[in-house]
Point group: C2
Chain length 331, copies 2
Amino acid sequence: MIDAPYLLFLGDAPDPLAAKVAQGICDWRPDMAIGQFRLEGCKADMKLTDMTIAEAVEAGAKTLVIGVANRGGVVSPLWQDVLIEALASGMDIASGLHNLLRDEPALVEAARAHGRTLHDVRIPTVKYPIASGVKRTGKRCLAVGTDCSVGKMYTALAMDAEMRERGMKCTFRATGQTGILITGDGVPLDAVIADFMAGAVEWLTPDNDADHWDLIEGQGSLFHASYSGVTMALVHGGQADALILCHEPTRTHMRGLPDYDLPTLEDLRDTALHLARRVNSACEVVGISINTAALSDAEAEKYLTEVEARMGLPAVDPYRHGATRLVDALS
Amino acid sequence: MIDAPYLLFLGDAPDPLAAKVAQGICDWRPDMAIGQFRLEGCKADMKLTDMTIAEAVEAGAKTLVIGVANRGGVVSPLWQDVLIEALASGMDIASGLHNLLRDEPALVEAARAHGRTLHDVRIPTVKYPIASGVKRTGKRCLAVGTDCSVGKMYTALAMDAEMRERGMKCTFRATGQTGILITGDGVPLDAVIADFMAGAVEWLTPDNDADHWDLIEGQGSLFHASYSGVTMALVHGGQADALILCHEPTRTHMRGLPDYDLPTLEDLRDTALHLARRVNSACEVVGISINTAALSDAEAEKYLTEVEARMGLPAVDPYRHGATRLVDALS
């Protein structure tokens, strides 16, 4: 659907976390990204070659992928000139932002004039059902977090990669724009109409072979005042057999909410498990995924050891050390 | 916005609960409904005069209000002839269904031909923000249920009526189609895009006088596999100071989910309070509202006495006995 390779547009990202779409593509489909485009003041860096639009086209880029998310998902006016230049130079544009490329008259006009395509990957293209709550065959694993942006998608992608390597039956189920841009399909859950959220998750993770695992991309956090409803729909629509707790140990407050502390891993475990067992009484918390990107090797090891002892569950950073032990915990 | 009086269209309601929109209008704005229209097999009855379209127009009806909800909110093909007749006879149509009047070509054409208006009250008309989680001034009360359709809206409306009678500052805050049809404004929460649900609730219940109470209409249930995400957004967006637990004691399974038992009131109390305190540490569960419609007077009294003793909280049926004790519990 979206032509590769990509030029990753990082815009004026206020911090590295804001560029998690671009980071996800680099980490899981590195062959698809041939360069990055950054505006002045951009605080994110994918360590790709910085390219102008002309250089990217020369290098073969087919699509400019907006790899950065603003609060509220707005297409910034600052970006507009670059995007129009990309269209005029022969690239398509793909975006997972809430505010749509197709709602920007200048972009629509430029795309039309130059025969290019605007891909809004987070627009639901399916009429999702109301959730039925009926038990489905096959196994499902869901990552839940103490906060947003703590590594839930990475955890599921890393487990998916590990399971494929072992020859296990599995599917990564994307529920957000990055996952959809990486895998080509999924449910843009935070853009779904409220009443159909859980039904969309059921639709995404249908009956399957008894030994097949869906690795469901988590969203938000049950403890995040802005996004908890989306997470709740994942917990109830997902019918997880296994939950992975995700956490970032250096976070001082909930993302975007300076007045809110993070919950403890114990609180996340108890709250998520209680809610998840509502739809699958066999659900268990099987492991803990810690995003140790901000820690040194020694600090990471110390922290993981401590969490593992305290919680009595395997605690790993799947990006740093692989997902072997998390996949082992599913068996 | 919507011209009164109304003819309440009950369609082919499969059971009385399906007509809760019509019932709400009859109970809280009885002067606005002058008759009802029922199709063959209709299992709901508002005890209003059954009227043909011609009789309703003759009696002065200005708007046919669709007072019944189908699963998924579909405009049934069975209804179409009646709706077109109403438009041709000079009535507007108002609907709170998910599927829109404006998306039915035959209705749009008939409305155009006869100069009538189609009101889709559940379409959000506001661009809601992402929730900020910032603490707001004023007080808020939210009704949460063991299930859907257990009396959450009634509880809030009855408390609103009681507080107005006492001269207290209060506002009923509608979050569903019935509430919006009754009060003329509100947020159609289950039609809001997932990411903006909690923000819509914050928008609906802004800063207010320190002694002003918002009575927030609840939706769904934290324990309902289909709709729990919407409820979660109300709990986190609402920042309730006071929670009222709502329950219907004869329900044998969760509405629409035959495989699901209802949670206990204790489980509802603990789960809702834990989640609500995330955004307002002062939140308390202050009372219990039991929908005793299916019980005799003696059975209702026995049940309420037992629940009150067991839970240590005032337990009343506000529709049967008024909301005096629930309002007392706020003080």
